[in-house]
């Protein structure tokens, strides 16, 4: 069940999706964190951030919208508050990071990348660049490169670039990340979306738009993983609506080396463990020795 993302070793391919699992302690009463391949925590920026007003989430058909707005304690706040918690666990820690400027990305990388307890940084590029008038790092390949270059320059810790899904050709971004020295990719972030209350004529989210996640987007995510996997040699962590072992295996067959369970944690906190156990059983039943033997085995 062991997989590797750069030098990060995971004892099984299953992590949790950033933002759906808090900073670690929140679900620790429900599942043994050490059974996960890695814990991925919510996005951290260099400074503390308040995030969006409420309402911040809204349920949709087989999915949900979120516009939490990346509130968080900042890099140093995270270290002070949560790194000690992880001392009790052996599970690898992936910290999701973001910034409003390229310098922000560099700064948070320097701080968190030098923490021994941090096994990898997952770089969320679905953020507007305040300096460039709101252009999104994740959908403009030139801006995208500047971020990956900056993050790479500031750390030797493995970096996983989390691609934005709302692009015409994800292969360009996958390749750019690989060229800039990324150790892995995460595919996909939630998809830009919106819901409106027709009685009040107000968007259901305070932020107006948010990201769609859950089973609704799984077929989109599988396609993006499949495409990205064809474009690069670095490993991919696939996510988007994973609820069952079969869902996870679908991403693996499509080309993902690891998978992340996101929205499913809300539906059932034991989802990730069920996925791990189920993959193990499936591999045994199908006489597949290593999960790595399944990666990208989809037939033409």
């Amino acid at each position: 069940m062991r997989v590797k993302i750069g030098s990060l070793e995971m004892k099984n391919p299953v992590t949790v999706a950033s933002g759906t699992f808090g900073y670690g302690p929140e679900y620790a009463d429900y599942i043994d964190l050490d059974r996960l391949g890695a814990v991925t925590v919510k996005g951290i920026s260099v400074e503390p951030h308040v995030g969006n007003q409420t309402p911040r989430t809204f349920e949709t058909a087989s999915g949900m919208l979120n516009a939490i707005g990346l509130p968080g304690p900042g890099a140093q706040g995270f270290i002070d508050k949560y790194i000690p918690f992880f001392a009790e666990y052996s599970v690898p820690l992936i910290v999701n990071i973001w910034g409003k400027t390229v310098e922000d990305y560099g700064a948070v990388t320097e701080i968190l990348g030098s923490q021994e307890r941090v096994g990898a940084l997952e770089v969320n590029v679905s953020c507007p660049n305040v300096k460039e008038g709101g252009a999104l790092y994740g959908t403009n390949v030139d801006l995208f490169r500047t971020v990956v270059d900056e993050v790479r320059a500031k750390t030797e810790t493995p970096i996983i670039i989390k691609l934005a899904p709302n692009v015409a050709d994800i292969k360009r971004f996958a390749k750019a990340a690989e060229e800039c020295g990324a150790d892995g990719l995460a595919v996909m972030n939630s998809y830009p979306a919106m819901a409106i209350d027709i009685e009040t004529r107000k968007p259901e989210l305070a932020n107006r738009t948010g990201g769609l996640s859950g089973p609704a987007i799984k077929p989109i995510a599988v396609k993006l993983v499949w495409e990205a996997a064809q474009a690069v040699d670095i490993p991919i962590i696939g996510m988007g609506g994973i609820y069952t072992p079969e869902d996870a295996l679908e991403f693996i067959v499509a080309g993902a080396t690891g998978v992340a369970v996101g929205t499913a944690n809300f539906t059932d906190p034991s989802s990730a463990l069920r996925v791990i156990d189920g993959i193990e059983t499936w591999l045994a039943e199908h006489h597949v020795r290593s999960v790595n033997d399944l990666v990208g085995t989809v037939r033409a």
Partner: protein
């Protein structure tokens, strides 16, 4: 805090729009403290990714019950659940009501709608029984008056349409009553719609008595992980987000920064 597959023991119309759902929950039941809630996965609601939060009405070694109103897709499907079916619960969740402060001798309950359910365990546990103010739109919305009276509470009812008790908002009964009490002795516990909570909270701040409010916010995770259910809590510097599911749902009225 646990996750438990509970079995439905009883499920019936309680009164008006409200139903009582009682489940066997030997793990969660004994842990419940007043003002806590459970997070329930509605069976057969496959297209829903989120659980639904409900205050615990009653709880003991064997099980627990909730009182719920049918308001949307989830509660509608919940209606069809039958005895013997299995419901996945997380709980008990949240920080509930504190017990009566050492210097307090006059507990007061203020409830609207399912707020009565949320207050029942507190009403039972409080060492002293005082005044209980229940508001609703019509007589149908006033739950469990007899049960609270049986516990020793002095229950006053208001309804918007006057179909039971005094006509008017709950504050119409509360204000004159409070005016005659020693407010330093008062400790108030409230659960109900946000406008009611705000009205109660405003009075606590103005008149200087202690009030605990159980805040109703949409939730996703229920365990403090997703930051959906946040409200603004006053700090020295201004405010910070507090999570209703974990830091609350019960907050001291002094802490809450209301917004319009």
């Amino acid at each position: 805090m646990n996750q438990e597959k509970t079995t439905v023991l009883e499920h019936r119309v309680f009164q008006g729009d409200y139903r009582l759902l009682r489940v066997a929950a030997p793990i969660i039941g004994p842990q419940v403290k007043p003002g806590q809630f459970v997070h329930l996965r509605v069976p057969r609601l496959e297209q829903a990714v989120l659980r639904r939060p409900f205050s615990v009405f009653k709880a003991d070694e064997e099980g627990l019950s909730i009182l719920y109103a049918t308001v949307g897709m989830g509660t509608e499907v919940l209606n069809s659940v039958e005895s013997g079916e299995v419901i996945d619960l997380m709980g008990p969740l949240g920080t509930g009501f504190p017990t009566l402060g050492k210097d307090k001798t006059l507990p007061v309950l203020v409830a609207g709608g399912y707020g009565n359910a949320a207050l029942y365990l507190q009403a039972k546990n409080l060492p002293i029984k005082g005044g209980a103010f229940f508001g609703g739109r019509t007589a149908q919305d006033i739950l469990c008056v007899g049960e609270f009276e049986a516990l020793g509470w002095d229950v006053r009812v208001t309804t918007d349409d006057g179909s039971l008790g005094t006509k008017g908002l709950v504050t119409a009964a509360l204000d004159p009553w409070l005016a005659e009490q020693d407010l330093d002795a008062v400790e108030l516990f409230s659960c109900g719609p946000n406008p009611m909570l705000k009205a109660v909270g405003d009075r606590a701040l103005e008149k200087g008595f202690t009030a605990w409010l159980s805040m109703d916010r949409n939730m996703a995770c229920g365990v403090g992980a997703c930051l959906t259910c946040v409200i603004k809590r006053k700090t020295e510097a201004g405010w910070e987000w507090a999570r209703c599911c974990k830091d609350g749902p019960v907050f001291n009225a002094e802490e809450i920064l209301w917004e319009d």
